[in-house]
């Protein structure tokens, strides 16, 4: 109470302002807010909002020519591009492919990350610092580099594990999707593990002591106390994984030099890139819009669904 009165009345005589404001924020504070928010605001507008609007506008245009050899001209085409998107089987195959990928890879990756985080948090392990660093190290490897490394490891002629790779061709049409899943898992398990682990560390240890006094085993403590308490962290990693899955590009694009089984429309983003290189910017823009909407809806639904489960 003291502070509020002081902060509102004190500046008034000092500045000699003709009127005293009752509002909590002073003019100086309002200027400061503007200074703080403006840089991000401008950049966000220029490089987030405007591109989104621009993509939507582009996706509503279509290229028209007068006669066969007339100059191309962009005219309003309504939902022509979206019709094409919905009729484009290659695009929907690529969407189906990454959804299948996500349905398998995301649970496996987050399951492993949770297991490692729980083990790191348990009294069973020695050398925790080493394991934490070793498991996190692949996160420092960019997707392109990881794909190059694993590309060499997979390829039958170069692999150090030729006993395996001469029998099983990881770069074949049937397996290459899972070969990519392995690369993504390799890179991101440690990162997700750390997010979950650091939220495990935030749980007060008294809770475990109480549970132990009640005769709970390690497994019961993990299952009934630790996992429910780190659900928000798991949700966060889940949302990021879903966004990442739909955006797959670097790994498949790089692996194309190792495997002919990856088509130019293997993932939605590859389809965007290929279509833009044609160049058919309007259709590529429509792909981008559909992809962004799908990502947004999927992560939003996931957030809502898991929140409901948690509150129940």
């Amino acid at each position: 109470m003291m502070k509020v009165t002081r902060s509102t009345t004190a500046p008034a005589p000092a500045l000699g302002a003709p009127k005293t404001r009752k509002a909590k924020t002073t003019g100086a504070q309002r200027r400061a807010v503007f200074l703080f928010v403006a840089p991000f605001g401008v950049l966000f507008l220029a490089f987030y909002a405007v591109p989104i609007i621009f993509a939507v506008v582009q996706s509503l245009l279509t290229v028209e020519r007068k006669g066969t050899f007339g100059p191309p001209r962009q005219v309003f085409g309504g939902f022509v591009q979206y019709q094409q998107v919905f009729q484009n089987t290659e695009f929907w195959e690529s969407v189906g492919r990454v959804l299948l990928f996500g349905a398998v890879q995301v649970p496996v990756m987050l399951g492993l990350a949770l297991l490692f985080a729980l083990l790191l948090d348990s009294p069973l392990l020695r050398g925790k610092k080493f394991f934490r660093l070793a498991f996190f190290a692949p996160y420092a490897v960019p997707g392109v580099i990881a794909a190059i490394m694993w590309g060499f490891l997979y390829s039958p002629s170069l692999s150090p594990f030729d006993a395996v790779t001469s029998e099983v061709n990881f770069l074949s049409a049937e397996l290459v999707l899972w070969a990519i899943a392995n690369i993504v898992t390799w890179v991101y398990v440690g990162y997700n593990m750390l997010i979950i682990y650091s939220s495990l560390l935030a749980i007060p240890t008294e809770i475990y002591e109480a549970a132990r006094l009640d005769g709970a085993s390690n497994l019961q403590i993990a299952w009934r106390i630790k996992i429910p308490l780190v659900v928000p962290a798991i949700i966060l990693t889940g949302v990021f994984s879903i966004i990442g899955t739909l955006q797959l590009l670097a790994e498949p694009q790089t692996l194309r030099s190792f495997s002919s089984a990856i088509s130019s429309t293997f993932t939605p983003n590859l389809a965007v890139y290929t279509t833009a290189s044609v160049p058919n910017y309007n259709l590529a823009a429509a792909f981008s819009v559909v992809l962004a909407l799908a990502t947004f809806v999927l992560s939003f639904v996931f957030l809502k669904a898991t929140q409901r489960k948690v509150s129940q």
Partner: protein, 304 residues
């Protein structure tokens, strides 16, 4: 019974102390845990080890010798490979490293300051439109960056700025997730009383932010910096679609370009392997140097 209570009480009062309940765990579950972690350590480290070993070999030795161990001439071969890497095609690889350092290093640094200011304002000031701005930023977190790459390319080509440094640098500055983290941290770690006190002392709002608040938010700022550094360093679609001139490439795009030429120019294989090793060292170094910060800051995003 009383002994159990005593140990429990002891460890509750000193949470950091050595675990007193150790002997109760069977050797079975201990070795199972160590076995799982050991096997996965091999999984995570073998590819990096292979990369390290392979970078000390000539093109023929990569397939001809034991893949996971060094040869007798490892050191001179490695140095020769490094020399070739930095001289090939007029030393373009060094340029790529510098570009990546510029895009990711400077971009993340500026981006962190910008995101921190915005998140801080959202947390510590009450003004009209605050919730609206925060909700827009939050939806920005869910918009995939790659969906923006193509429209950004179209916009930059309108103003004739594709194939320039700016085309990759400027869009990389925006990090809605950074704003989100900064807001959470500022709300939790900068006491409003402190800001009031600074005001009474006559410190301007901006000065208070840079001298007092940033210090309190330091762990969060390092986390935001790292997130953004990695995001820019790993970004592939934006440079792929924006840049034609290989002098402007970041190191990932450069290595990608070399890798896709291996079938025509086989000697590039060794350069790609050595280049991959050299390109991941800065990131591993950054992570190790800043470990103290990120290991505590990473979980912040999930705090409600």
């Amino acid at each position: 019974m009383s002994a159990a209570t005593a140990t429990a009480a002891k460890s509750a009062s000193a949470p950091g102390a050595a675990n007193p309940r150790g002997p109760r765990h069977s050797i079975m579950s201990r070795s199972a845990a160590m076995l799982i972690m050991g096997v996965f350590t091999l999984y995570f480290l073998t590819p990096i080890w292979w990369l390290l070993v392979s970078s000390t070999k000539t093109g023929g030795q990569i397939t001809g010798t034991a893949p996971l161990w060094f040869t007798l001439e490892s050191v001179p071969t490695f140095l020769a490979n490094l020399g070739n890497l930095f001289t090939y095609s007029d030393g373009v690889f060094g340029r790529w490293l510098l570009n990546s350092a510029l895009y990711a290093g400077l971009g993340a640094l500026l981006g962190t300051v910008i995101a921190a200011m915005c998140g801080y304002a959202l947390a510590k000031y009450e003004f009209r439109g605050r919730e609206a701005i925060f909700n827009i930023v939050l939806s920005g977190v869910l918009v995939p960056a790659t969906a923006l790459a193509l429209p950004l390319f179209l916009i930059f080509s309108e103003v004739k700025l594709t194939n320039t440094l700016w085309a990759v640098f400027l869009p990389s500055l925006v990090s809605p997730f950074g704003v989100y983290l900064a807001r959470i941290y500022a709300a939790a770690s900068v006491p409003t009383e402190l800001l009031e006190a600074a005001r009474l002392d006559g410190s301007s709002e901006v000065r208070t932010f840079f001298t007092v608040s940033t210090r309190l938010m330091a762990p969060a700022l390092v986390t935001i910096f790292l997130f953004q550094f990695v995001a820019i360093w790993n970004n592939f679609f934006l440079p792929l679609i924006m840049l034609r001139d290989q002098v402007l490439f970041p190191v990932t795009l450069g290595l990608y370009a070399w890798n896709s030429q291996i079938s025509q120019i086989p000697e590039l294989r060794v350069l790609v392997i050595v280049g991959a090793l050299v390109s991941i060292l800065p990131l591993i170094g950054t992570f190790l140097a800043l470990q103290r910060f990120w290991s505590s800051g990473l979980g912040a995003g999930s705090v409600k």
